[in-house]
């Protein structure tokens, strides 16, 4: 019997060195970076208003897209996995880790109010309003990561409520339901709108993922309410509850700052959703679970997620980058998630890879051969975009064997 998978799999984990242990102790405080994200948003508004330099509004966008990838590059990977003993301790102190997320949720709302104020009432150039837009998008990305963490803890009402309040910041009401009940069930299969297919670029994926996930979330909630004998249009509908929090918050900002706040809020929310789309895009690209003899997809295993283990982005994403462990044990708290040495691995942290995904040619150059290697050249095992299936199959299927066969026959011909 395992509780959240804590007591097994230790054999594959690395022994902690003294240096790792020091890092593990410090890491507890580094998790406060989750609070720093909205604090940067608030601080940048204060600085912009105080100094009149609107460039400050770019601060969080620059941190997300430039500083974190550089820090990842400099400080490299995070080798530390908690031992069994430390895992028990981390669980005992779980209120500390939860409180960070509760406080950060409140700060996310304050950050959105502050930046909307600056964008609408501040006398800043369009260039710096773009900075404000990108900074709020980056804040939403971290906010949805927090909401993701909280929303998995369905046995804890406080975390579930904060997940809704946190998803409401970017108006992404269906996220928690569709993610838990839909994505985790169908992940790495062609049925999942939130698992990207090899050959599918980020923009095509977004068109499939954004409406597909919303529809699945609504359907799943309708099914739950039907079992309860309630109308889907009731206040018991969690999508409606979360949407009402968004309407209240956004409505308050429209009242306070004027109707010009609305386009800024809606555009930044949509960009926040797209940031989540980017995360979904990179997490399972091309990976596919196989159908067993019973006609069902095999259970999701560590090999069905792309991982990356850089220190800074691990902290920023609440260990979401240790994605294999997350999918193996979705209710494991973020402070316990472990790196699997033999799981599929991305060359950079999530923020850098998300940026790379925006350039489809670069993404495919980096990733397609990794997917082929993962599938050991057997393209029947790959989740492929139907529009590119024939081309990918012709190019990669058993390509290594064909090359060996060809060189063999060439060798024989030469010998003859």
């Amino acid at each position: 019997m395992t509780q959240q998978g804590i007591t097994h799999n230790t054999a594959s984990l690395q022994e902690a060195s003294a240096k790792d242990k020091r890092w593990s102790k410090l890491k507890k405080y580094w998790y406060l970076v989750t609070l720093i994200v909205p604090a940067i948003t608030i601080g940048s508004v204060l600085m912009a208003v105080q100094t009149g330099y609107g460039q400050w509004l770019w601060a969080l966008a620059v941190v997300f897209w430039v500083v974190i990838p550089i820090v990842d590059f400099v400080f490299d990977e995070d080798p530390y996995n908690p031992t069994d003993e430390e895992q028990a301790q981390l669980l005992e102190n779980s209120s500390y880790y939860k409180n960070i997320l509760y406080a950060a949720t409140v700060l996310q709302w304050v950050g959105l109010f502050a930046m909307t104020y600056a964008a609408v009432l501040g006398d800043f150039s369009w260039f710096n309003i773009v900075g404000a837009f990108l900074s709020v998008g980056a804040m939403h990305a971290v906010g949805l990561t927090m909401s993701h963490e909280l929303g998995h803890k369905l046995n804890d009402k406080t975390q579930v409520i904060f997940a809704q309040v946190c998803s409401a910041v970017s108006g992404y009401a269906h996220f928690n339901i569709e993610h838990n009940k839909g994505h985790h069930k169908d992940v790495a299969t062609p049925d999942d709108p939130a698992s990207s297919r090899m050959g599918e670029n980020i923009y095509k994926f977004a068109i499939r993922e954004l409406p597909g996930a919303a529809k699945r979330g609504w359907t799943l909630e309708a099914e739950r309410l039907k079992r309860q004998g309630r109308s889907v249009f009731s206040l018991h509908n969690e999508l409606i509850q979360t949407s009402l929090i968004t309407v209240a918050g956004y409505g308050a900002m429209v009242l306070l700052f004027g109707v010009e706040a609305l386009p800024f809020l809606l555009l930044t929310a949509a960009y926040g959703w797209f940031q989540l789309t980017m995360a979904n895009y990179i997490e399972h690209y091309g990976l596919m679970r196989q159908v067993g003899e019973n006609g069902r997809f095999e259970r999701c295993q560590p090999k069905h997620s792309w991982n990356t283990n850089f220190k800074a982005s691990n902290l920023l994403t609440l260990h979401l980058q240790r994605h294999s462990d997350h999918h193996a044990h979705p209710t494991r708290p973020y402070q316990l998630l472990r790196d699997y040495a033999d799981a599929p691995s991305l060359p950079q942290g999530y923020p850098a890879m998300m940026g790379m995904s925006l350039i489809p040619n670069a993404w495919r150059r980096i990733m397609d051969h990794r997917v082929v290697e993962w599938a050991e050249g057997d393209m029947t095992r790959v989740n492929m975009d139907p529009a590119h299936k024939d081309e990918l199959f012709a190019k990669y299927h058993r390509a290594a064997e064909v090359a060996v066969d060809t060189s063999d026959s060439e060798g024989k011909a030469a010998a003859a």
Binding site: M1, T2, Q3, Q4, G5, H152, L154, N155, N180, K181, H184, K185, R224, L225, K226, R227, Q228, G229, R299, C300, H327, A328, H329, P330, T331
Partner: protein
Amino acid sequence: MMAKYQCPDCGYIYDEHYGCEREGYNAGTLWSELPEDFPCPDCFVRDKPDFEKISEG
């Protein structure tokens, strides 16, 4: 006395006495009355056939 079943991944316990109201399964709903595709209401990565019986009814 009603039976209890536990999710082998996250430890969630389905107690027939309480059912799972939040997912629409009323108190007193027997394990046998749950649909075959009933997923664990906490982790959603284990289904009814994966659960282990931990207490007899």
